[in-house]
């Protein structure tokens, strides 16, 4: 069997496969920019999205650009994610699923001695996916009105990052993010009575703008505090600037009218703090805390519901194979994580919270190359106050490969 061909085919498949899948999700994603995603790369994904303080040669840290400084070979990462939402409220339950590209990133080491690595990435930032129907007797028209609402889209960003290590123990990074995308809501309305005309309403909001992410990872805490036992402890910080995105709302009515309205929508400041501890070079423990002040934003195009400040706490664990492991199974990475997310949704006066457990493996596919499989299972929301509870299942399959993966070796 030609393993080289398999690898190339797998890479193409991973990139193209998301194009053929379709939509569905939680009605909460109608608000704000939709569900805010936290990918961070396939390795981080399986650890509950934890990795602000992670510096590793084997992955491109999308959470903290400083985390790229140890990359020694050109690296490529692409993933596909399947989402399943089982939702219920007082009216019943439903299940929706969707899939899509999770991210695409390249990192190019420029100077290993100085930790200078450049990256370019395309990553989803948020996702809107819902389908809701409603039927009510309307007393004014004297007829039952049937409505459906379909939501789709989301924001992504194109990032251009750079890392550097001014000290052996200090890594810095910066990334310019071009935010772009659109969210769409398509609405239909019809009546049982033939007197009333069925109507449609199609609203799409197009966004564009820039944010800037700064990151730092410090690995010299043991020296700073004079505690050798903290030798493998690192501290990470990230800060993403707030931004006012240009927003253009296009509304298309069934009568044929189209209106356009321009304005801005705010993305808030995001600040993150993380810790990473590597025990005996075999076991990595991580913890993150991220805060975003959504509660202060001034919505323009967003639905006028009250958002709130969000914070996300997570922990992660990774079991790293022993160097020189002689069997395939011993070279597998094992990962797990847990996250608690106080989301920015606040519906009917109730904040929507989410808990998430995750796990995954990194299957070696060649030199410095892995197929990372991650599973996240979570709960979000409540059925109190006419809200809905979501059971979330996410499965990620991603390729994280270095340039070595594409080289032909004699043994192949």
């Amino acid at each position: 069997m030609n393993y080289f061909r398999i690898k190339v085919t797998l890479t193409i498949f991973t990139v193209l496969f998301p194009l053929i899948v379709h939509a569905g999700g939680s009605s909460y994603s109608r608000y704000g920019f939709g569900d805010i995603l936290r990918y961070g790369d396939s390795q981080i994904y399986a650890m509950g999205g934890t990795g602000i303080a992670l510096v590793d040669d084997g992955s491109i840290n999308l959470l903290n650009p400083a985390g790229m400084s140890r990359i020694s070979f050109t690296r490529f990462s692409a993933g596909f994610e399947y989402d399943g939402f089982s939702s219920k409220d007082s009216s019943g339950s439903s299940f929706y699923s969707t899939g899509g590209l999770q991210g695409l990133a390249f990192a190019f080491p420029i100077s290993q001695e100085n930790g200078i690595v450049m990256s370019i990435e395309a990553t989803p930032y948020s996702k809107v996916n819902y389908a809701i129907s409603s039927s009510n007797f309307d007393t004014l028209s004297g007829s039952v009105q049937h409505q459906t609402f379909y939501g789709s889209g989301g924001l992504s960003y194109l990032g251009l990052g750079l890392s550097g290590s001014p000290l052996n123990t200090l890594h810095l990074g910066a990334r310019l993010n071009y935010m772009y995308g659109s969210t769409r809501q398509y609405q239909t309305s019809s009546f049982d009575s033939s007197y009333y005309t069925s109507t449609t309403f199609d609203r799409t909001i197009y966004y564009s703008g820039f944010t800037f992410t700064l990151g730092a990872i410090y690995e010299g805490i043991d020296q700073l505090l004079g505690l050798p036992s903290l030798h493998n402890l690192s501290l990470g910080l990230t800060l993403t600037t707030a931004s006012s995105l240009d927003a253009n709302i296009e509304r298309i009515y069934s009568e044929g009218d189209t209106t356009n309205q321009n304005g801005t929508d705010d993305i808030p400041l995001s600040a993150g703090f993380g810790l990473s501890y590597l025990y005996q070079n075999r076991y990595r423990f991580l913890g993150d805390f991220v805060f975003e002040n959504w509660g202060n934003l001034k919505p323009f195009a967003l639905d006028p519901v009250s958002l709130r400040n969000s914070y996300r706490t997570s922990i992660g664990f990774e079991a790293i194979p022993e160097k020189g492991a002689d069997t395939y199974w011993k070279r597998i990475f094992y990962r797990a994580g847990f996250a608690y997310n106080s989301t920015y949704y606040q519906i009917n006066g109730v904040g929507i919270n989410e808990v998430l457990m995750s796990g995954g493996v990194g299957l070696p596919m060649g030199p410095e190359s892995w197929i990372n499989i991650g599973l996240q299972v979570g709960l979000r929301g409540t059925t109190d106050n006419n809200l809905q509870k979501d059971i979330i299942v996410r499965l990620s399959v991603a390729v994280s490969a270095s340039e070595l993966w594409f080289l032909k070796f004699d043994e192949e």
Binding site: S27, G84, I132, L140, Q145, T197, S254, E255, N386
Partner: protein, 392 residues
């Protein structure tokens, strides 16, 4: 993996509907907007393609008929014509049904193809003087003795056999601009406008028929010719029609159309319009059944609502036929499903006006008098009831 990625359900259901904010589920609103102005204006009447034409005078209404023949046979060229008659079959009357109908027949001169000819043009013609722009006298006068309603035949004698010979000839001189006659009522004694079947009558035996008596190779004979076209032009004295400026007059047969303005309608736009109903109320005491000295019902008890470009001219983008009903006080109301019209008003595709005209307005002389925005009782005013929802 493939099975998973294609999902299980993309049909929407009610889960999550309660999480939508108040007002975002497309709450239906109903608002009534009343007319802010009106007028009654004349309009071009299309009469050349209907199954009847009108002739006569009633009060200040006058209708002149134009009738011409075509597709002559070669066999009649050069025969000796001894006499001719034209038979017309009655189908309708407006005015006093028992009244006689005196009229004059003139030889048509000018072409009046289509609907370009108007009453004003015809009335400028002076019968006894050149240049006889439209017609000249052929010495035929007629006074009907019809007293039995709308089913009698009228026979027009044509003493001028030279005119008939010209019609049959193949000479292409200026006289062949129109092989027909103009019929004008005697304004001094007519008290009825009568309708006659045209060539478009579905029953061919009712079509206008020309009988020509001639002496042929085998002796006296009669040639029968039915191929014809017709139209009528009409007028009314405006002052006698519009006697109350607070009312809207819709006069068929003349084509006076009511024009109603709605300057104050929805301030929110765009919205999704689910229904819009235009309603007008009939002032029955000033309408056809009573306007006729001898009350007669409407021939067509229906109205059209038309979108308007300028004045009373329909822009052709919207029309709706009325539905008749009665309000709680017994007033006759005409309702029009007008969602398309309201949409055009709101997106400024049409002037915020609606023209009302009679159903088949060329077919009758029905008069509808409609309460305007000046009516003391707001329930009688023209109004449009719009059912809509605001989309954000």
């Amino acid at each position: 993996m493939l099975c998973l990625s294609f999902g299980c359900n993309d049909a929407p259901d009610s889960v999550g509907a309660a999480t939508q904010p108040v007002g975002y589920l497309g709450t239906v609103q109903v608002d009534t907007f009343y007319a802010t102005g009106h007028s009654s204006l004349p309009n071009l009447l299309y009469t050349s393609t209907i199954d009847r034409f009108m002739l006569g005078k009633y009060q200040t209404c006058q209708a002149w008929a134009c009738l011409k023949f075509s597709s002559w046979p070669d066999s009649m060229i050069g025969v000796t014509i001894t006499s001719g008659t034209i038979l017309l079959k009655s189908v309708y009357h407006f005015g006093q049904s028992m009244s006689v109908l005196p009229f004059n027949a003139y030889r048509a001169r000018a072409s009046w193809a289509g609907d370009s000819l108007t009453y004003d043009s015809l009335s400028l013609n002076t019968v006894a003087q050149a240049p006889y722009n439209y017609y000249y006298d052929i010495g035929t006068k007629y006074s009907s003795t019809i007293q039995a309603g709308d089913t009698d035949w009228v026979t027009i004698e044509i003493p001028d056999t030279s005119m008939l010979r010209d019609w049959f000839s193949t000479n292409s001189d200026t006289m062949h601009l129109n092989d027909g006659i103009i019929l004008s009522p005697d304004p001094s004694s007519s008290n009825v406008i009568r309708g006659f079947y045209s060539y478009y009558a579905s029953d061919t035996s009712y079509q206008p028929t020309l009988y020509v008596n001639y002496n042929g190779a085998y002796g006296p004979n009669t040639y029968v010719h039915k191929v014809s076209s017709s139209k009528y032009v009409s007028t009314i004295d405006r002052a006698s029609l519009i006697t109350d400026n607070n009312l809207i007059y819709v006069q068929s047969g003349i084509s006076y159309r009511g024009l109603i303005s709605f300057d104050r309608i929805l301030t929110t736009w765009p919205v999704s319009i689910h229904r819009a109903v235009l309603q007008v109320t009939l002032n029955a005491s000033k309408s056809s059944p009573q306007f006729n000295f001898f009350p007669t019902p409407f021939l067509h008890d229906s109205l059209y609502a038309l979108s308007v470009a300028t004045d009373s001219i329909s822009d052709g983008s919207f029309s709706a036929l009325s539905q008749r009903s009665a309000d709680s006080s017994g007033h006759v109301m005409y309702s029009f499903e007008s969602a398309g019209l309201a949409t055009r008003w709101l997106n400024n595709s049409s002037a915020r006006k609606v023209a009302l005209c009679g159903y088949f307005e060329s077919d009758s002389f029905d008069l509808f008098t409609i309460f305007s925005e000046a009516a003391a009782d707001i329930k009688l005013r023209p109004r449009i009831i719009i059912t809509y929802s605001v989309k954000r």
